[in-house]
Symmetry: C2
Subunit: 355 residues, 2 copies
C-alpha cells in the first residue's frame, strides 16, 4: 500500500488529460472502453458485477480520460448528496467555540472515510431553522449533525417532526423519551476523575466552581465532584460556588471560597473558570500546583499554554466524531432505524496545576 503510493507519480495519465476541455462523461468512457454506459456505472459502483477483464478495460479508460462521476447528476438520480450539514453557531460563550472546532475537525476527517463531506452553514435564532429547512428540502444534505442540544432548543424536536435524519452531539436533556440517535460525553465522570486525582494527591478540602443551577451540563459536572467526595465520606457543604462562565467570575468565586472555606484544591466546570482561579492565586502569591491545586474542563489551548500547565478534563472528540458518523451511516442505511444514545468517558490530562 504505502509503497505503491510512493511509486506512482500521482497517476500521470489522468493529470495529463486534466487541463484540457470539458470533463469526460460516463458515455465518453463507455465509448472508449467499447462497452455501454451501464457497464461503466457498474465498474464504478458495483465492480464485482463485471467480468475481471471487462473491469480492467473500463478502469483503464477511466484512468486515461481522468473520469470522475458528476456529483450533480448522481445526486439527482439517487436523491442523495453524501453531504452532512453542520450549523456553526455565531458566538458561543467561553471555550465552547474551541471545543466545537476540535469536533468539526474530527468530524471532517471521520466523515471522509465514510464517503461524506461536511457542509457548514450558519444562522441563529428562528432563522437557523429556515437554514435546516432549505438544505433539507433542496436535497443539499442527506442529514444533519446537531450540536447545541441545550435545554429548550427547538431544533431537535423540530427536526424529528420533519423526519429529518440527524444525529446529535449532546444528550436530549429535556426529553428522556427522545428516540433520536445521540452521542455525548459523560461530564460527571470527567469531574469525578479530576476530583479523585486530587483526593489521591492527598487533598481533602476540594472546592467546586461551576455554572449556575439552570445549566444541566453544569449540574451534571458538579455531580461528579460531589459523588467523588461523598464516596470518601467527605462533606461538600460550603465548598461549592455557582457563577457565570467568565474569568472574572472564577476569580471572585475562588477568592471568596479561599477566605471562607480554605480549600486546598479547586475543581472547575471549565478552563475559563480555572483561569480565574489562577488569577486569584497569582494575586495572592500562591503557587498553583504547590500551594493550591486547580483543575479545568475541556483541555483547551489555554490549559496547555498557561504557566505551570492546567490539569484539565479532556473530551474524546475524535471518538465522538467516529460514533456520530457511525450513527449517521446506520440512520441513512435504514431510515426506520431507532436511534440510541451513547455516552463516552472523558480522560484527564495532568499538568502542573495539580503538582
Amino acid at each position: 500500500m504505502g509503497l505503491d503510493r510512493l511509486e506512482r507519480p500521482e497517476r500521470p495519465e489522468r493529470l495529463a488529460q486534466r487541463t484540457l476541455g470539458p470533463a469526460p462523461t460516463l458515455a465518453d468512457v463507455a465509448e472508449r472502453a467499447g462497452v455501454s454506459r451501464q457497464t461503466v456505472s457498474n465498474a464504478v459502483n458495483n465492480p464485482d458485477l463485471l467480468r475481471p477483464d471487462t473491469l480492467l478495460r473500463v478502469q483503464e479508460a477511466i484512468d486515461e480520460l481522468g473520469y470522475v462521476p458528476n456529483r450533480a447528476a448522481r445526486n439527482l438520480r439517487t436523491r442523495a448528496s453524501h453531504l452532512v450539514g453542520l450549523r456553526l453557531s455565531p458566538v458561543l460563550e467561553g471555550n465552547a467555540t474551541a471545543v466545537m472546532d476540535r469536533f468539526v475537525h474530527s468530524l471532517v476527517w471521520t466523515s471522509r472515510e465514510a464517503g461524506y463531506h461536511v457542509l457548514l452553514f450558519s444562522g441563529e435564532g428562528p432563522a437557523a431553522l429556515d437554514g435546516y429547512e432549505d438544505l433539507l428540502r433542496s436535497t443539499a444534505v442527506d442529514a444533519f449533525v446537531v450540536t447545541d442540544t441545550y435545554l429548550g432548543n427547538p431544533q431537535a424536536t423540530w427536526l424529528r417532526e420533519r423526519r429529518a435524519p440527524f444525529v446529535a452531539f449532546g444528550r436530549p436533556w429535556d426529553d428522556p423519551e427522545a428516540r433520536h440517535p445521540w452521542v455525548d460525553i459523560d461530564g460527571s465522570a470527567g469531574t469525578e476523575l479530576a476530583t479523585r486525582h486530587l483526593l489521591d494527591k492527598g487533598h481533602t478540602r476540594i472546592a467546586w466552581i461551576g455554572w449556575r443551577k439552570d445549566s444541566r451540563i453544569g449540574e451534571d459536572r458538579r455531580s461528579g465532584w460531589s459523588r467523588a467526595l461523598h464516596e470518601r465520606g467527605l462533606s461538600t457543604t460550603g465548598l461549592a460556588s455557582r457563577v457565570e462562565d467568565t474569568v472574572g467570575s472564577g476569580r471572585e468565586a475562588s477568592a471568596v471560597l479561599l477566605d471562607e472555606a480554605r480549600p486546598s484544591a479547586f475543581v472547575c466546570a471549565s478552563d475559563t473558570l480555572a483561569m480565574g482561579v489562577l488569577h486569584t492565586l497569582a494575586e495572592r502569591g500562591l503557587r498553583p500546583g504547590v500551594d493550591v491545586a486547580v483543575t479545568g474542563f475541556d483541555d483547551s489551548q489555554v490549559a496547555q499554554l498557561v504557566h505551570p500547565g492546567l490539569t484539565s478534563v479532556r473530551q474524546p472528540l475524535e471518538d465522538v466524531a467516529i460514533a456520530v458518523v457511525r450513527s449517521l451511516e446506520d440512520l441513512l442505511a435504514t431510515p426506520s432505524h431507532i436511534g440510541e444514545g451513547l455516552l463516552l468517558s472523558p480522560s484527564l490530562t495532568v499538568r502542573g496545576s495539580t503538582g
Copy 2:
C-alpha cells in the same frame, strides 16, 4: 421588513405541507398555478420577466406547496454548485488552528450572504491534491478557498495550472508574479503597531522573539519590529531571537535575552511565544506589564484568559472573509478575471501585559 418577519408565524402554510409526502417539484407548482414549468423557473430566478399578476399567482403556489428548488437538478443544469471548498489541515502548529477556526466562522457567515455554503474536506500531503481534484472534477464545488500558502506549498500552482477558480488567504510568497486573487494580513504592520505602542509607553530596549529565518511570515513580522525601532533611531542588535513556535522556546529565548540584553519589553511573533515569556517572568518574580512588557500575535483565547491579559495583534479575519468572498464572486462572474492581491491591516488589542 422586520415587522413582517415578526407577524408571520413562520410561514404556516409551508410548514403544514412539509411533513407530508415527497417534495413538490417545479411541475407541481406549475400545475397548481396554471402556468408552465419555465414560468415557475422564471418566477424563482428572473422574477422581472413575469407580469406582476402572474408572478403573484406563482408565488402563492410556491408558498402553498412549500416548494424549494432541487439543488441536484439545478446544479446539473447550471454546472454550478454554489459551494466553496475549504480544506482543513489535520494539525497546524501553535495557534494557527485557532486563527483558522475564526476564519472559518467568518467565512461561513460571509458566504451565506453571497448565497454560498462552505464544504469542508480533509487530506494532507499529496492526498490533499487528490481531494481538490475530485471535488473540482465532480463539480462538487465551484471554487476553493486556499489557506496555507506557505513557501513551497504546491497547491496554489497546481490549482492555477488546472484553471481551478480559487482565492487564497495568504500571499504567494514564493512567486510575486502570481496572478491569482489573494487576501492577506500585513503582519509587518501588526508588529510595528505593537512596537510603537511599547515605544510610546517609554520603552527603548525592546526585544524580538520570532520564528526561524526560513519562515517568510516570521521575517515579515520581524521587519515591523525593526522598522519601528530604526525609525526612532534605536538599534536592534543583540535584541532578536529566532526559535521554534513553542512555549518552551519562548521561555528559553526570553531568559537568555533578559540575561544578555536586559530588554524592558518583548515583541513576539505569536501568542505562544509570548506565553513563554510570561513563564520566564513568573519564574523570576517579574510582573508582566509592570516590570516587563510583552506583546503577542493573533489575539487568541489565551491572550484574553491569561493573568493580566496579553496585549496582542489582532487579525481582521472578518474583513478577510468578506474580501475573499468578494474575490470569489468576481472570479466566478468573469472567469477570465485577473486576480489581484489585497493586504489588510491588523489592529492591536491592548491588555495588562503592557501596563
